[in-house]
């Protein structure tokens, strides 16, 4: 079981994509990168108060260079770290006190993290995932597609418990970009969820 989002999860997803012949076949014509935006919500707050989730989340953010993490300063997510969890987000990961942060997270409310977003960028290209990594606010804004939504909706998608199309059509996730392209390549989208994401069980 991997924590979403975490370094472990990203690595497992990349491996799953590499191994899945079904995904490679379904996405063989796909060209287009995604900027994914995960908005903090009540479930995120609840999950962060579990030590393993906090640790996984920090490992995810630690995939960004320090310079990128500095760009969160002044953003809602930067404020959550600095003002609610007691450490700036650009603090080196080994300096974070996971236990202390978990304890502080347990006192957070959904209101406290309103507007706090995590970003990751994925480059899907002809059946392979050339990159998947967390990014800073403002980076990869020119991505071909943007997919945004609350953490709880993201969990439903990456766990495979709900299909992407239902989440997007019911407004739980918002997809921006050339919709006709996505519609013509629905096999790739479905395979990404079913064969890649769902192949990495999350906790």
């Amino acid at each position: 079981m991997a924590i979403f989002p975490s370094r472990e999860w990203v690595e497992a997803v990349l491996q799953a994509a590499e191994k899945s012949e079904k995904y490679k076949e379904a996405a063989k014509d796909w060209e287009g990168d995604f900027l994914s935006i995960i908005e903090g919500d009540e479930e995120f707050v609840r999950d962060l108060s579990r030590r393993e989730v906090m640790e996984g989340f920090i490992s995810f953010l630690d995939m960004m260079p320090s310079e990128a993490r500095k760009k969160f300063k002044g953003t809602p997510m930067g404020d959550v770290f600095e003002k609610k969890l007691g450490v700036p987000l650009d603090t080196p990961a080994d300096k974070f006190s996971i236990d202390e942060m978990t304890s502080m997270a347990s006192k957070l409310s959904a209101e406290d993290i309103k507007g706090a977003c995590t970003y990751f960028w994925s480059d899907f290209w002809h059946g392979s995932v050339r990159a998947m990594k967390p990014v800073a606010p403002g980076e990869h804004e020119d991505a071909t597609f943007k997919l945004s939504g609350k953490y709880s909706a993201w969990k439903l998608m990456v766990s495979g418990r709900q299909d992407t199309i239902r989440l997007v059509m019911s407004n739980k996730l918002k997809l921006e970009g050339d919709m006709s392209y996505v519609m013509k390549h629905m096999k790739a989208v479905v395979a990404l969820t079913k064969e890649v994401f769902a192949g990495v069980p999350i906790d």
């Binding site: 199309i165 239902r166 059509m169 019911s170 919709m179 519609m183 096999k187 989208v189 479905v190």
Partner: protein, 421 residues
């Protein structure tokens, strides 16, 4: 008389039993009720509380036929394409009109079960699938007074560059607080409108400039602002009550808006794919019914000292009818399998519209051609009310118009053929 050409289906005892059981229901319940409804002089009698229409609808719901197209994860019947095809052909054999009622019944909850989350699942889909008393009954609001079968054209993605050539639509939804407010008239040809409690409704959205800038929503009809017209008195499909619905400041919550931009213009055609398979299949059932009536009559009726079927001309007609029924079954079944795979199994929602539309056209045209020849074999008796064939002929003729005229359906398919082939 029925012979299944596909050995996998023929040798499957479960499928054989399914066909037999469905056929028995069609023969013992649907067909007699359909004939009674057809002969009612006033269409108001068809929709009256004591009408056989309701008895049949309740029995169909008890048997789960209102759940064929609903996502199995949300209470759907869980049949595969072959099973759905078998059930629908048999029900269509009994009555295309009453089968249309159970078909349009499930369009809105089926769409909700496939695409929606949240309240609409709890408030609409769950009670709908559990209903065995016909407390819930759906209809499908597409065509409008100023925009008939054209509305189907707007659902074809390949036609989108030309959509502004059509009327921009009369039923409009506008944002109103957290929900939507709906205004405008749907045409007189909404199947089950006079009896329905809910409608799966096509609307346009601001700036209301074209039909593709639209949405599909579910609207409870038992509320202020909804006006229903009288059921239409018509030539055929008299057991399928049709009428208009007008909306005057009718409110729905936001999550009742099931398909909205940008998905409406790219995915609404998938509803048409599903309904087209449905129509092609039930009209295959009608074609078979007409063929069987003609074959039986041709064996019994003596002319020129021998049964009709002993005459070369009649033999030729019977052969042609047989060929149409069998080819219609094979074709509609194959297309049903394709649509089912793309919508219910792969969930890619990219079924081929040209194939689905052609299944509908082929099934309906076959039904009309077979019914036409069947009535011809009956001679003058075919024109009397003494035989079922005149009803089948009238129903088949109505089918060339219902759910989109075959001309417009063909035109929509042609746009897709030219773009995709």
């Amino acid at each position: 008389m029925y012979f299944e050409i596909d050995p996998k289906i023929r040798e499957d005892k479960g499928l054989s039993l399914l066909r037999e059981e469905t056929h028995r229901f069609a023969e013992e319940v649907i067909r007699p009720a359909a004939r009674k409804l057809d002969r009612m002089s006033d269409p108001e009698q068809v929709i009256a509380k004591d009408s056989p229409y309701w008895d049949v609808l309740k029995q169909m719901k008890k048997l789960g036929y209102h759940r064929i197209f609903i996502d199995p994860d949300y209470g759907g019947l869980g049949v595969n394409a072959t099973e759905a095809h078998i059930i629908l052909e048999e029900l269509g054999w009994g009555s295309v009109g009453l089968t249309t009622a159970i078909g349009v019944d499930q369009i809105a909850p089926a769409v909700a079960s496939l695409f929606a989350m949240g309240d609409v699942i709890e408030k609409i889909v769950k009670p709908w699938v559990e209903d065995t008393e016909a407390k819930y009954h759906g209809c499908w609001g597409v065509t409008e007074p100023e925009c008939g079968s054209d509305y189907i054209m707007a659902c074809e993605e390949s036609f989108l560059p030309h959509v502004k050539e059509l009327h921009p639509g009369e039923v409009r939804a506008d944002k109103d607080g957290d929900g939507w407010v709906i205004n405008g008239p749907k045409s007189s040809w909404i199947s089950s409108a006079p009896t329905a409690t809910h409608v799966g409704l096509h609307v346009t959205l601001p700036p209301h400039d074209n039909l593709a800038n639209g949405a599909f929503c579910i609207v409870p009809l038992e509320q202020e602002g909804v006006t229903k017209g009288k059921p239409v008195d018509k030539l055929g499909l008299r057991d399928d009550p049709q009428g208009d619905i007008t909306f005057d400041n009718v409110h729905i919550p936001d999550d009742y808006m099931l398909i909205r931009p940008p998905f409406y213009e790219f995915r609404i055609g998938q509803i048409i794919c599903a309904t087209s398979c449905f129509m092609g299949t039930i009209f295959t059932g009608l074609a078979r019914a007409a063929f069987e009536e003609a074959l039986r009559y041709s064996r019994e009726r003596i002319q020129g000292g021998k049964p009709l079927c002993e005459h070369q001309l009649i033999k030729q007609k019977l052969y042609k009818m047989f060929e149409k029924v069998e080819s219609s079954r094979c074709y509609t079944r194959k297309i049903m399998e394709h649509v089912w795979e793309r919508i219910y199994i792969e969930r890619t929602f990219d079924a081929s519209s040209r194939h689905a539309l052609s299944a509908q056209i082929y099934g309906k045209r076959s039904a009309f051609e077979v019914a036409y020849e069947a009535l011809q074999i009956f001679g003058g008796y075919g024109l009397t009310k003494d035989f079922l064939i005149e009803k089948l002929f009238r129903d088949a003729r109505a089918g060339l118009i219902e759910d989109g005229t075959t001309e417009v359906l063909g035109l929509a398919a042609a746009y897709n053929i030219i773009e995709e082939c």
